[in-house]
Symmetry: C2
Amino acid sequence: MLKLSKKADYGLMALQHIASNQYGDVAHARVVNTKEIAEEYHIPVELLAKVLQTLSKSGIIESHNGPKGGYLLGKNPREITIARVLESLEGPLGIMDCAHEKDGDACMQREHCNIRTPLLKIQSSIYQLLNSMTLQDMLGGTPLITIQSVATEQQGVER
Amino acid sequence: MLKLSKKADYGLMALQHIASNQYGDVAHARVVNTKEIAEEYHIPVELLAKVLQTLSKSGIIESHNGPKGGYLLGKNPREITIARVLESLEGPLGIMDCAHEKDGDACMQREHCNIRTPLLKIQSSIYQLLNSMTLQDMLGGTPLITIQSVATEQQGVER
DNA sequence: ATAGTCTCCGACTAAATGAGTCGCACAAAA
DNA sequence: TTTTGTGCGACTCATTTAGTCGGAGACTAT
């Protein structure tokens, strides 16, 4: 229950990847393209492309066309909240159907609905949670910290 | 995104209804049957029936056969957590596919997966949230506009 | 006892959504 | 101007969810 879509998964992976190439201890930002990410994580390219396009439209990343093109973060990782990313890819958070209804088009059971208020409360708590976590937080959590010790000897990193 | 299924909605509504008939200000418990609930909230009877059967199997409610039969809560509303109800109807909470995987059958991107850990953390937070809220809390929330004025008789409000 | 309700349960169909594919237009660097 | 990449929309296929149907068994009232 409450599962995220693949798009969301892929999007988060890609962002994590882009971010660590851009803000890692490698001194200069590196543009990373769709194909590279798709291969690294075994994601179908076309699907990932669509995901990245969506993120780009939302301003979370910026696209650069042409050869040597690819994607870069549109903002600092600290300013990119998980909530924002998920909303961009899956639409607004809505625990129940009637989450954002205007008073007009209510669901069939609205008039006697006894669970709307408590569910809205839960929803708001979840939103707060997602909104308080940023891409930066996801960066910290990965192996990646160990890079410090072996930083000297590899930059290209392909298996 | 993160929408609950209709089954979950219906289940919660039904539970709320059953609970308020059983623990409401009417002194004695009243058995309520599927048809009654279905009509009250405009839910297809057969579907609601299935939902109630599921809840019954989980021990959340008890069924009583025959004429004058129907359902009663299996436990005190304070002991019925939202998490339990949702799990019963929608299966275990799993933000991502690989939430409960054994090490064997990992997803395709598992080896390089960089988002599993932070997502598990989010998931656990959500679970905590759902597990800390009980049917009792949903009962209190219904009349709800008047709560501010009658703040004297708060009972369960934990946080 | 027996008739009439009511729960119980599994199998089924239909609708909605999600995952993934294809093909081509457009942009920019070399 | 050619190459390499993004941008974008329409499309198919798979999975899940919502809702339906029909009948077996349980219980109570009469």
